[in-house]
Symmetry: C2
Subunit: 136 residues, 2 copies
DNA sequence: AAAAAAATGCAATTCCTGTGCATTAGTCTG
DNA sequence: CAGACTAATGCACAGGAATTGCATTTTTTT
């Protein structure tokens, strides 16, 4: 994991720091997407802004994608192998549980192509399904 | 229009005030959904909180629906005739233009039904397509 | 080891939602 | 019509989050 991360960051001339490694580890421990606040809470001592910028850097390099599930704060999740969200943006469906408030990536469920009225030029799409998750 | 509004509000024991009428008129003048801030700007003198609560009241009574287009602030649009968003929530697709920043309702374009993994119990869905609108 | 570049942490700003409360306006009843 | 009641309004303020500027620290390069 560290090696993969190192390779990717090196390619883009971005340094692999302790902070970034920690954030990466934390993200890979999650089974659902987490918000900046939640990420912050999982560290004893941390700086919100640094985390914010770390996530931004990861996003820009296609390691992490952000999900707007409608809760106000965006949530972040690691991209799966082969995820191309840095190029094409969120293509898979997200599920937000209204009970536990968690948001899950469903990478195997792609957003169907919508035929829009003429002259609308779609570039990306965001589909969030809300309801109750298996656990709740 | 006024009569329809009056009828609906009367049914629910909600008063038809000058403010509410003005908000209703402003909303029906829009061809795209507007945010609270934009609504506020369209009045010379207005109180954000009153507008906020007016929109909330309208929403609760199925006159208006809100759209989370990912810009941070929810946008509001009049429901079409027969819209059942007070019961089933947003069923149609929204289009957000990244150039002019406007958000359009596409009431004729419904969100396709997604087959989710077992035990996920969907209740509502939100689909926002982003790109460039015909005007831009 | 010094210089340069990048990352970090702190402070502060801005924008938005949302609540409490006093005042105002509208409705109802005698 | 007047008084009582209820709902709507407007102001003040609190709270949460994104985002920027800048000084400091860390890392890399020379």
């Amino acid at each position: 994991m560290i090696k993969i991360l190192e390779t990717i960051l090196n390619k883009k001339n971005i340094r692999l720091t302790a902070m970034r490694l920690l954030v990466m580890e934390t993200l890979s421990d999650q089974r659902s997407a987490i918000s900046l606040s939640e990420l912050e809470k999982s560290f004893e001592k941390s700086d919100r802004i640094t985390l914010y910028r770390t996530l931004k850097t990861f996003q820009e390099n296609g390691l992490v994608h952000s999900i707007d599930d409608g809760t106000g704060a965006p949530k972040y999740a690691l991209c799966e192998e082969g995820c191309r969200c840095d190029i094409e943006r969120d293509l898979h469906v997200h599920f937000h549980c209204k009970v536990c408030n968690e948001t899950f990536c469903l990478p195997k469920y792609k957003i169907p192509n919508i035929e829009l009225p003429e002259k609308f030029r779609p570039e990306e799409a965001n589909l969030v399904v809300k309801g109750t998750c298996p656990k709740c």
